[in-house]
């Protein structure tokens, strides 16, 4: 398979310098990790660090050969639980009515998955196997997914050498500062997990029935073309979705656009603004996710993404309205 390239600083990287071979090995490992995350039965506790906050979450994951089921339970802060059964996600929280059923069909398992073809990722990121480490008492291979430019964040992934599960992940700023971290403090891979364990303790799942798949007819507006356009994007980003949705609270239509380079994701929300004083203008961030708001043409334009502020701002200022 060849040797792994060891890289020391970002400044020493250049796309030409990274052998396709090095990228391949790292990418293959990531693909294997993606499969393992979906296909194994495991249980553990992760700590999720975002900014100054630290939360711990209990995770259960089960795969029966066809359907993935997961249960994530908050161990700190207000009681909250998310139960996923294939395409059905249920959120239980201690406030509000008690159950909110999300009818979106998620394509992703818990963990990091790399569905983008290698060529796409390689044009924006350098994938490198950086070395070895220990997490949760297990030996791990460290993979770096570093941006070729400073317009997006980097990732560092610790992959269990035995199970190939993702033990730890970090999103890093340009200066190498971790913005968000998810790390298993305990992890057990199991032969089997009893189905009852995937049921929520916070609510009776029998009373939250399986819903029919979210059919397009129920939310046709999602697929309408938005009249807003982003005219600048960092290289490698593509538009994934465009639509008009109704905000449940305000009964206001908001236009949304979603872009991704395969790893980072940026969402744009545009809503009509009535009173300028109420506009959200400026930044707010949560962990690695930054939100930037500004007013354009009597509209509130909000960009949300896990990319650095200058990138978010540049995307925001490039947003224009198209008159149909």
């Amino acid at each position: 398979m060849g040797k792994f390239v060891r890289v020391f600083t970002l400044s020493m990287l250049s796309i030409a310098a990274i052998s396709a071979h090095g990228n391949d090995a790292a990418y293959t490992l990531l693909q294997t990790m993606h499969d393992a995350t979906r296909r194994l039965n495991y249980e553990g506790v992760v700590i999720y660090q975002h900014g100054a906050k630290l939360d711990s979450i209990h995770i259960l994951h089960k795969y029966d050969g066809e359907i993935e089921r997961e249960r994530l339970t908050s161990l700190s802060g207000p009681a909250k639980e998310i139960v996923r059964d294939g395409g059905l996600v249920t959120v239980f929280s201690s406030r509000g009515v008690g159950t909110i059923v999300q009818r979106d069909a998620p394509a992703q398992a818990a963990g990091v998955s790399f569905s983008a073809p290698l060529e796409k990722l390689v044009s924006s990121y350098n994938l490198v196997i950086e070395g070895f480490d220990r997490v949760a008492g297990r030996k791990a291979t460290v993979v770096g997914v570093m941006p070729a430019r400073q317009d997006r964040y980097g990732y560092k992934l610790w992959i269990d050498r035995d199970s190939k599960l993702l033990l730890k992940s970090m999103i890093l700023s340009g200066s190498g500062r971790p913005l968000e971290q998810v790390q298993f403090t305990e992890l057990r891979v199991k032969e089997r997990i009893a189905a009852e364990r995937l049921r929520s303790k916070m609510g009776d799942e029998k009373s939250v029935p399986r819903l029919i798949a979210d059919s397009e007819t129920r939310q046709p507006e999602r697929f309408l073309e938005s009249s807003w356009r982003v005219t600048w994007l960092p290289p490698g980003f593509e538009r994934k979705e465009s639509g008009i949705e109704k905000s449940t609270e305000e009964y206001i239509d908001f236009h949304h656009l979603v872009f991704s380079d395969g790893l980072a994701m940026v969402s744009v929300f545009v809503e009509q603004l009535i009173e300028k004083k109420r506009a959200f203008q400026g930044y707010s961030s949560r962990g690695a996710v930054t939100m930037f708001g500004r007013v354009a043409d009597d509209h509130q334009v909000t960009v949300v993404g896990d990319v650095p502020r200058p990138t978010i701002e540049k995307i925001s200022t490039s947003i224009v309205k198209i008159d149909n």
Binding site: S74, K80, V89, A110, S115, S267, F269, F280, G287, V304
Partner: protein
């Protein structure tokens, strides 16, 4: 006509015959109108988990205006509104708790007004601008501002989109569980 027809009518599930019957009955019977009104209120409460309320207000039915009793108590009386004389049976929602962000972003101001039909109104009026935030007078469920709620909305939508589109990165469910807002 029974009350179940009202319920079905509300949901757009009544038969054609039931529809006319229901509308007629509701028009004639104030008790049924009350039910119509309350049935809708139930729905509003269920849909709104962001009900900002004032907990120390007088309970319903006691029909008292908030009064300023001591200099330290910060409450606001509604200014006598227009047409008060003709508004003896005004129906519009009497209580709104409104949150405003003051100049300093960390300092929300809470205004409460309770408007009582038919009451002799205290004509003292406190200019909202002069009020200081006092969280002991009003208990907001969680002391979040309108701004926080708005940002939570964007954040949650973002994570849900990420899950739906299968974009890799930090597990959006971990993010959703970790951030105790929804």
């Amino acid at each position: 006509m029974n009350k179940e027809h009202i319920s079905a009518f509300m949901d757009g599930e009544a038969t054609t015959e039931e529809v006319e019957e229901v509308i007629d009955s509701l028009g004639e019977d104030p008790t049924l109108r009350g039910k119509w009104s309350r049935y809708h209120l139930i729905g509003e409460v269920l849909r709104s988990d962001r009900f900002v309320t004032g907990e120390k207000l007088e309970t319903l039915g006691k029909r008292k205006m908030l009064r300023i009793e001591a200099p330290t108590r910060k409450a606001i009386l509604s200014r006598p509104a227009i047409g008060l004389a003709m508004a003896a049976s005004i129906v519009v929602v009497a209580l709104t708790v409104v949150l405003f962000l003051s100049g300093a972003p960390d300092k929300p101001e809470y205004l409460i007004s309770e408007f009582e039909p038919g009451d002799a109104l205290d004509s003292r009026y406190i200019d909202p601008e002069e009020q200081e935030a006092d969280q002991t007078v009003v208990q907001i469920g969680k002391s979040e501002s309108v701004r926080e709620h708005q940002l939570n909305g964007y954040f949650t939508n973002y994570n849900r989109q990420r899950a739906r589109l299968g974009v890799p990165g930090v597990n959006p469910y971990v993010r959703m569980v970790g951030f105790d807002s929804e």
